[in-house]
Amino acid sequence: MSLQQIIFLVVAAATVGSAIMVVASRHLIHAALWLVATLFSVAVIYTLLNAGFLAVVQVVIYIGAIAILFIFAVMLTRRDMRDTGPQHNRNWWLGALIGLVTFAGLFSVLFFSSAFNKTPAPLPAGYDAVSLLGDALVSPNAYVLPFEVASVLLLAALVGAVYVAFNRK
């Protein structure tokens, strides 16, 4: 087992562990914080994958915006739900079953197919992932359209969220 593999395993364990804590936590605020941990672990995964930009964006957007948003939402909806009572609904076992089955299915397909058994190609000299990414995002031959559409989507979401959550008192 090479060093990279060991690091990967540790980070993967952290990710999975925090993810389990997210869905199993008794207090909702704890779940949100465990989500932050999960997201951070995922950023580390990105780094391991030489996708540095993604790691940074993950931290900034997911943790910096989305997780904060979750915490705000939890705080704003705390009237009745004082972290008491069961956190899982009556059919949680069915959900667990489904999750298990899904994982088992995916695992059996993925682990035992030879297509995924490859090693990464070494990065070429002078490889600049960020500028390539930037080119890809704004080049008309590449993905400028989805990029623009995504921005429109964000605008729509922004407007929509404001409107939906608007307090009309």
């Binding site: 949100a32 995922v42 609904n89």
Partner: protein, 103 residues
């Protein structure tokens, strides 16, 4: 060298956990937490496939992951806005109690 399989299995695990969270948590916000987990699993998958692709000059995987970020953000924003709005109206965030479409 970490085989691609490991990353993909990790992604599958994250996805399954997220699925479990969506299906079994009572609080609506907790459900959205599960959704976020699932989206992250997808992103991991995409990034892994990009890195283990044959042509590293093609940034398709990363671009896709960026777009997913944007979508996840939008979705969380709107979703939480909805939860807050529902909380204001019905005074509860427990998904089981929001059953106006019950027969």
């Amino acid at each position: 060298m970490v085989p691609l399989t490991w990353y993909v299995v990790l992604s599958a695990a994250l996805f399954s956990i997220g699925l479990f969270g969506v299906l079994s948590r009572r609080n609506a916000i907790a459900i959205l937490l599960g959704v976020e987990l699932m989206l992250n699993a997808v992103n991991v998958n995409l990034a892994a496939f990009w890195r283990y692709g044959s042509d590293l000059t093609k940034m398709t995987g990363q671009v896709f992951a960026i777009i997913v970020f944007a979508v996840a953000a939008a979705e969380v924003a709107v979703g939480l806005a909805l939860v807050i709005s529902v909380y204001r109206r019905h005074n509860t965030v427990i998904a089981d109690e929001i059953d106006l479409l019950k027969w």
